[in-house]
């Protein structure tokens, strides 16, 4: 059984550097002020390596991966 993850942003830490959206434009876009908007839902399997990279490379460590039940929609 495959594991499903979603990206969670610590909104207080997030500084709007925007690196995540460059690394993972398939799932992350920036709002008009440079803060990430994450596509809801679990991360597709083939994007997991990029998602892990985005989490590791965030300069303020504002991103984490959280296990999610399949089909459960992420709100953030």
């Amino acid at each position: 059984m495959s594991r499903h993850y979603e990206i969670v942003v610590d909104r207080i830490r997030c500084d709007g550097r925007g690196l995540c959206a460059e690394l993972l434009p398939e799932l992350i876009r920036l709002d008009d002020w440079g803060y990430p908007i994450i596509s809801p839902g679990p991360i597709p399997e083939h994007l997991m390596p990029l998602a892990e990279r985005a989490v590791e490379d965030c300069p303020v460590l504002a991103l984490t991966l959280r296990r999610t039940e399949q089909g459960k929609r992420a709100s953030r």
């Binding site: 909104r11 207080i12 002020w33 803060y35 908007i37």
Partner: protein
């Protein structure tokens, strides 16, 4: 339904009810323990601070995660709301009874009375009431002052303050705590005695009524009844803002027949919220009123999360431009898009409450937003 009311007893202008009078009227604190949780669940009592979460379910969850602190939320940062401080100022022992009962039910030893720093009369009444209590009760309590900010009443901010001294919303509260509004706890004091729901709510009537202020009304009362009890409308109203600044606008035609029943309102997609019923007089411009409230809410962001700080400021500016310079489609589109984007992207519910308020304005006053003439912004009522 119980015949007990929160504000029964001496006239409110006579000041706080003392312990002897309270005990003579209602009897001593009932002996109740963990079993009270299920009584509260069955009563259907919901939180009166704004979110309206079922109180009994909150208690169950708090007991399960071994909450250590009960925060009695009397921050009342909502601009027009007066009911929490009226309750603390006049019936302080009801609040203390409810707090002690909740603490016993959830097995919490520490109770923090979290009172708005400017609510000096309420604080003095609570301090005096505490001093009248036996030492065995008193030892559980301490008092913390809530800074006079809108977000201070947010439950994560309340927990953060009482545990760390910082009244800002946070992602990770330091200690497991249960936060409950003062009115909710006052209802608990009556429910523990009667076994059933009080059947009343405290509302603060604001805006275009002859006698703005706090009323205790039956949940079967309509908004029209409440307006009449507040001395009637000063002029034919245009709409009602139900539930305060995190609430929703409702056209007067639809609003009048709504009952002030938390469950019935929820079924209509509305909320009693903190109980503020704001009456918008017919001569006031809803667009300018909305812009004024958005400006206030943007200023009350704690500036911790980008989407809230920048997003609410941009939304306030765009609605302000429509209010002062007249309607334009670019700003209207931005309002709709930004409101949808900002929602759910803060550490607390401040941005969500603000954009839901704006979205209710855009849907209720769609015509006015689309055809607003240029004129100077009025001060918000």
């Amino acid at each position: 339904m119980s015949t007990m009311r929160l504000l029964a007893g001496r006239t409110l202008s006579a000041g706080p009810e003392g312990f002897a009078e309270h005990a003579a009227r209602l009897g001593h604190l009932p002996h109740a323990g963990r079993d009270l949780t299920e009584v509260v669940v069955r009563s259907g009592l919901t939180g009166r601070g704004g979110a309206g979460f079922p109180a009994g379910l909150k208690w169950r969850a708090a007991a399960a995660r071994h909450a250590q602190v009960l925060v009695v939320n009397g921050a009342e940062g909502e601009p027009h709301s007066k009911k929490d401080r009226l309750l603390m100022s006049t019936r302080p022992h009801l609040v203390l009874d409810g707090a002690l009962l909740a603490a016993r039910a959830v097995r919490v030893k520490e109770i923090v009375l979290y009172i708005g720093e400017h609510h000096t009369i309420a604080r003095a009444a609570m301090e005096r009431a505490l001093a009248e209590r036996p030492a065995a009760d008193r030892k559980h309590f301490r008092i913390a002052a809530a800074p006079a900010r809108y977000v201070s009443g947010d439950s994560s901010a309340a927990v953060h303050l009482v545990t760390t001294g910082i009244a800002l919303p946070t992602n990770a509260p330091a200690a497991p705590a249960m936060v409950q509004n003062v009115e909710t706890l006052a209802h608990v004091a009556l429910i523990a005695r009667s076994g059933e729901d009080t059947g009343t709510v405290l509302v603060t009537m604001a805006g275009g009524v002859a006698r703005p202020g706090v009323l205790e009304v039956e949940t079967s009362s309509t908004i029209a009844d409440a307006i009449a009890l507040a001395g009637g409308a000063t002029e034919p109203p245009r709409a009602v803002l139900m539930g305060g600044y995190f609430g929703a606008w409702v056209e007067i035609g639809q609003a009048q027949g709504l009952t002030l029943d938390p469950a019935a309102l929820r079924a209509r997609g509305l909320s009693l919220g903190c109980g503020v019923v704001g009456v918008l007089p017919g001569s006031h411009c809803p667009v300018c009123e909305t812009a004024g409230i958005m400006r206030y809410l943007a200023g009350e962001s704690s500036a911790q999360c980008g989407p809230c700080f920048f997003g609410l400021r941009a939304l306030a500016e765009a609605s302000g431009r429509i209010a002062t310079q007249g309607s334009n489609s670019e700003d209207l589109q931005r309002l709709h898009r930004w409101a949808a984007e900002v929602r759910g992207r803060g550490a607390c519910k401040h941005p969500d409450g603000a954009v839901m308020f704006l979205q209710s304005a855009l849907s209720t006053f769609g015509q006015e937003f689309a055809s607003h003439p240029a004129h100077r912004a009025r001060r918000s009522a």
